[in-house]
Chain length 147, copies 2
């Protein structure tokens, strides 16, 4: 699938979430969930604040979107996330039957794409590499500044 | 690793959690997390009540154990869970660096063990098949009664 202008606009909003995470001392990953072109959830990584390894941006965004929409499934939704989802988050997105995943930077070490077995729901579409430079840069800078 | 009497005792407690889930109309899966032989978290599947696909017993137990222990990592802990963890939960247990996973019934369709790539933390020990008949029976009965 090709990248559309709308994908770039929503990824910019996910990047804004990543920047909030950065300001809070969290690994800067942000996510947005949209439904019919409208944002239904915004979230950023909160593993430090919540002292909880499961508090990734995607997990928090899924929970928020389900609360907002009143349903457990997100078949008509798209998640925009600045980093490639990890295995945990890909598993969660599979359970949610998310319609589309758009991610920015790849994560060859922790990302789900390295797993040869299909993890996602068979109907989920995936687009990668949207604003990947900005999305990876913010994480690289975070770790450089930590040293 | 061989199954010890303690594993059976704690799995019985995880089964009690599964029975609470059953009474609440949830897919009956329960989990217990122990640390130095003491229970630090009990949880059961709450996907229906919370309207949230991420509210698996394991995820709720990890969050509860971290709250209780005040740390993000569960390296000295064991999780007892009635069903083989799914990919999402295995990913979460990996992030938590859980010391040991003891599970009851296998889940060839949704479980993490079908994935050829290592998902868990390399130091995590795994024991399977503890009270597997009881653990699978409760789920089978749940779906039979649903029909």
């Amino acid at each position: 699938m090709k990248i559309e202008q709308q994908d770039i606009e929503f990824m910019k909003k996910a990047l804004r979430e990543a920047k909030i995470a950065e300001q809070e001392g969290e690994i800067p990953v942000g996510a947005i969930i949209t439904c019919q072109g409208k944002i239904v959830a915004r979230a950023h990584n909160q593993t430090e604040r919540l002292n909880d390894v499961t508090a990734h941006a995607e997990i928090l965004a899924i929970t928020a979107a389900c609360n907002k929409l009143g349903g457990k499934y997100l078949t008509d939704c798209t998640i925009y996330v600045t980093m490639e989802p990890c295995v945990m988050c890909a598993g969660a997105l599979a359970w949610a039957q998310i319609g589309k995943i758009v991610y920015g930077a790849s994560d060859p070490k922790r990302g789900f794409a390295r797993i040869p077995t299909p993890i996602l729901h068979p109907k989920t579409l995936v687009i990668s590499g949207v604003l990947s430079d900005e999305c990876s840069e913010i994480v690289k800078n975070f770790f450089t500044n930590k040293r």
